[in-house]
């Protein structure tokens, strides 16, 4: 396996889908099956090639780093690498994209060549986003994700697809634009100090004055908050998810939202530690509002995709809460939550896509009693729903538990409010589940519904396995995150000390009593 350690795995993982794009472009018209399997093959190959990334000996620093000159005049480099923060998101991209491709085989019937090409471009761009360590390169990949998604929604979407796609792009572009300004700001500032750089590792090591941090932090934070999305920047999400084709929703919820959380963790916390600490209470407050508000809004939805989409606001609120608790445990929890949300919500969108494909409606009122007709579907939906609700022993619980553990350390009131989210999640999820599956199967068209096909099972089983794997044995996975999380909270020592002081008063009493006893 020695050659793997030296192989440019990341670049291969980025390049493979692009290679697939080129081949797909050459597939003659009408050879749809070839096209589908070609897309699936290259997408899956990219996943397989990224698996050895996990074998990195040390996740504290970056491994598999590749550093080539790209635009030397601008000091922009092709600089990529992974650490414990990014490796799981790279793997999640690799896991979800082939499944999204696979799920599209029967759903997409027009302009298939363009469709699969866009999915592959998106995979490549996502891997790039999660691995780029040069800010210009990061920005390039970040924007490169946007365009395929815009087209996916706009062309293959349903209903108000053009409105949704435009809204999605405008929202994101506003954020990206400010982020670009901030990137230039960083470059100019480091230039003024004699070392102009877009290199993340350099910027992390050379702190900015607090005032400058504030402005640049805000610019970055807005871009990431929109992407996550954090209340009140979330209204693009419901429209985009609802109108997107199934695969689009899966990637959007599973991966694109993670770009926001990842950005916070990768760039905001290490480069702007003082500003992060200063804004942490505000951001945590917004996170808790997102958790509760998102859940309450979900309870009023009658469109199954819209409901699942808005549940992301609530779940990603937990991610933000964990990140901005600036607590090591909370940060680890946030990463776990990102991955488990990607898996569970990705699966929920796949599941919603299954009945949408059969019935061409997303209205909950159009369903009911499906448990009878589709038992396999029922069982997988049940497990996925409970993973999303955060039932212990399934993936959702681990993240929420760690996040709350971290957050209670930072602000016990907010943590307590956030914990209410676990009640509200159950309320809207179970209500939705009942309307789809329970009761009498009144509509004749529902009675004849076919259960999951082998291909659909193949899309869902890997995700279900992951839900159990993370939920039952989170240790190896959380362990691999820790060193990088420790580094990401660059101010960790300072901030963690501060939060130790803020421990509940009783802790000292107990501790001192123990001391006395000894």
């Amino acid at each position: 396996m020695g050659f793997l350690a030296n192989a440019p795995l990341i670049s291969i993982a980025i390049a493979l889908p692009i290679f697939g794009v080129i081949l797909a472009a050459l597939v003659p018209k009408g050879r749809v099956a070839t096209l589908r399997w070609l897309a699936f093959g290259f997408s899956a190959a990219s996943f397989i090639i990224s698996l050895p990334l996990l074998a990195s000996p040390d996740f504290a620093g970056f491994s598999h780093v590749e550093h080539y000159p790209w635009m030397p005049q601008l000091k922009a480099y092709y600089l990529v690498g992974v650490d414990g923060l990014s490796v799981w998101l790279v793997l999640l991209t690799g896991l979800l994209t082939p499944l999204a491709v696979l799920s599209s085989f029967s759903a997409i019937r027009n302009r298939e060549k363009e469709y699969y090409i866009l999915l592959l471009i998106m995979q490549s761009a996502l891997v790039g986003t999660f691995c780029a360590l040069d800010l210009v390169l990061f920005f390039l990949f970040w924007e490169m994700v946007l365009i395929p998604m815009y087209l996916l929604i706009g062309i293959w979407g349903s209903g108000r697809r053009v409105y949704a796609a435009t809204k999605f792009v405008l929202y994101t572009v506003v954020g990206s634009f400010l982020m670009l300004l901030a990137i230039i700001g960083l470059y100019v500032y480091s230039g003024a100090n004699g070392h102009p750089s877009f290199d993340f590792t350099y910027l992390r090591a050379h702190l900015l004055p607090p005032e400058l941090q504030t402005w640049l932090f805000l610019a970055f934070a807005l871009a990431f908050a929109i992407k996550m999305p954090l209340f009140p920047f979330h209204t693009w999400l419901a429209d985009a998810h609802t109108e997107a084709p199934t695969a689009g929703s899966v990637l959007l919820a599973g991966l694109l939202l993670k770009m926001g959380g990842y950005g916070f963790l990768r760039f905001c916390l290490p480069i702007f530690p003082d500003a992060s600490a200063a804004f942490a209470p505000l951001m945590m407050g917004l996170a808790v509002v997102s958790i509760l508000y998102g859940a309450l809004v979900c309870a009023a939805q009658s469109d199954i995709k819209r409901l699942i989409a808005l549940s992301s606001v609530s779940h990603m609120g937990f991610v933000m809460l964990g990140l901005l608790s600036l607590d090591l445990i909370g940060i680890q929890g946030a990463i776990v939550q990102m991955v488990s949300h990607g898996i569970a919500t990705g699966a929920l969108f796949l599941l919603a896509g299954v009945i949408y494909e059969r019935r061409h409606t997303r209205e909950l009122a159009q369903f009911g009693g499906l448990a009878e007709a589709m038992p396999r579907y029922y069982n997988i939906f049940l497990i996925t729903m409970f993973a999303s609700i955060g039932l212990p022993a399934l993936s959702g619980f681990v993240g929420e538990f760690l996040i709350l553990l971290g957050a209670i350390n930072a602000d016990w009131m907010l943590a307590g409010l956030a914990a209410l989210g676990i009640v509200l999640t159950a309320v809207y999820m179970l209500a939705m589940f009942r309307r789809v599956f329970h009761g009498d199967c009144a509509l004749p068209e529902n009675r004849a519904l076919k259960d999951l096909s082998a291909r659909e099972m193949a899309c869902l089983i890997p995700l279900v396995v992951m839900m159990f794997a993370i939920g039952l044995f989170p240790k190896p996975y959380v362990d691999s995150i820790r060193p990088a999380a420790e580094r990401a909270a660059r101010t960790a020592t300072r901030i963690l000390q501060a939060s130790d002081a803020a421990r509940p008063a009783g802790a000292e009493t107990v501790a001192s009593a123990q001391e006395a006893k000894r």
Binding site: P392, V398, A426, L430, C441, F473, T509
Partner: protein
Amino acid sequence: MLGHIYLAIIPPLAGTILLGFFGKMMPRKAAGILACGAILLSFAVALAAFIEYVRAGGVSPEPYGAHVGVLAPWLAIPGFELNLSFQADALSLLMALTVTFVSFLIFVYSSGYMAHDEGYPRYFAYLNLFVAMMLTLVLAGNLVVMFIGWEGVGLCSYLLIGFWYRKKAPPIAGIKAFIVNRIGDFGFLIGILILFWLLGSVDFTTMRMRLSMLEHGAPLILTMAGLFLFMGAMGKSAQFPLHVWLPDAMEGPTPVSALIHAATMVTAGVFLVARMGFLFSLSQPALLAIACIGAFTALFAASIAIVQYDIKRVLAYSTVSQLGLMFLAAGLGAYWIAVFHLFTHAFFKALLFLGSGSVIHAMGGEQDMRKMGGLAKRMPQTYWQFLIGAMAISGIPLLAGFYSKDEILFAAFSARNALFPQAGMALFVVGAFTALLTAFYMFRQVQLVFLTPARWDAAKVHPHEAPPSMAIPCWVLAAGSIFAGYIGLPAMFASLLHIPNALEPFLAPALPGGHSSVPHALHAASLASEAMVASLSALLALAGLGLAFYLYRARSGLTEKLRQSFAAPYRLLFNKYYIDELNNAAIVSPGKALCSRLSQSVDLGIIDGAVNFIALAIGALGYALRPLQTGFIRNYAWYFSVGAVLLIILLWLRAGG
């Protein structure tokens, strides 16, 4: 075996997986045997561990007589280690034995009861999962593993209440159960988090060791942690005001009501309080709160039970009431008595539910006691079983319930709470009155179902005795309802009958003593007061019995008159104090309104409206500026020169200034 007690969880878990994947392909008989066999195996493991434990005679590698086995590490964070650890000690072994034994009987009963249901394998898959989760709960070595089991049994409860999902009511009842439990679990989770921060561990033995170093009571934060944990117990054990889900849970199949919603799962809250007794005993306010909520719930639920007509609802409210009594005992610091009553209750309440299941089965699904009567002649076996159960729960002397209930009353009678010395007497009075009501509603039920003249249409209904698969488990439970009390006899009876109290010393290492005055008070108390409480408790049981006999047998017209003259209180009780209506009016409806308001007005209206407004405004600005783009060079040249002139003026001004 003791270090690997988690082995007991594996058979039912394997059973779930096998039944889940292959259940539909199996013949029914095979599915039933597989399910029952898995539980029997689990029972054997628990029994073997129990024997080993008793043989070891209290020698254990961990303090407090605990044997801890780690299955796998779950999380390791600097400062915290969290393992999938399982603990065998007196308390968990007793619980595991009770759970597997009662489960086995109810599984056998179910194989007859559910024989004609098309969801047979699904039913047993869920039921196996339930036992696996319940064992996880009781055998857990730390709070997080316990929480896994805790929410796991909640999941099974949800699935089994809504088992008949085609009907309208069961799925709704299932959701209600899960959500009310989740409200409790919210508290449980917060409690776990606080303890994590406070003690750096949630392993039971470690927490107990660290807390035992506290000398002067507990700081406020410990009381908070305890009360949050108790909130979880209130949800699971259906204590007021989180009791609302349990009566609705009767929508599930009756054996499920017997197993989950009477004998095992709902007692998990009591188990939690006993397990965490070392925490609660440090906080008098927390204990007092537990005792008061328990006592209130006991009386509250019993008063509802006396006027209900649904055969299962009476039993459901009775369960809520009995759980209240257990909390009353636990709140007095008499944890072993709470566990004792939990143990005896498991037998007679399971028996009563299974008996009611046989009746419902025989009556073709009828649950209204007004349409029953005279069944003693048609179903003599069931009648005798039900009667034994009713006598046991009512506290008729010599049966199991008498002893455990007597201990609770005596504990209350002799308790001296440090915060509020009169509390013990008040709790005693409430407990005694509850005992009276219990005997009344139970014998009212016996009268209405079995003894009063038949009120059913003989042409349509043909009541028949239950098949052996259903009758035999009931006889075993009936035997338990009689004899289970003899493992923990009160001091007076113990010396009278020469049967020592085996339970209290057995449980002693697992439960805290010393901090509460009660156990000592119990031993020091004079024989006279003990005899007095015992005879009072026997009298109350007989009074309840007599009253029921008088009202429903001797003077059968009297109930109607009473109902009319006390119309308002009757309506209040009949409608369960309107708690469901209150919840709907105060929480559910406003909640729904809030959600749709947020979704419509705030989300789509204000927030999205603002976004669209900005977009529109920018669009309009663009539209307004569009005429500037004429495409004529001369216009652009004109803009250009004006701009240049302005710029020069600007620069000149700045340079000048």
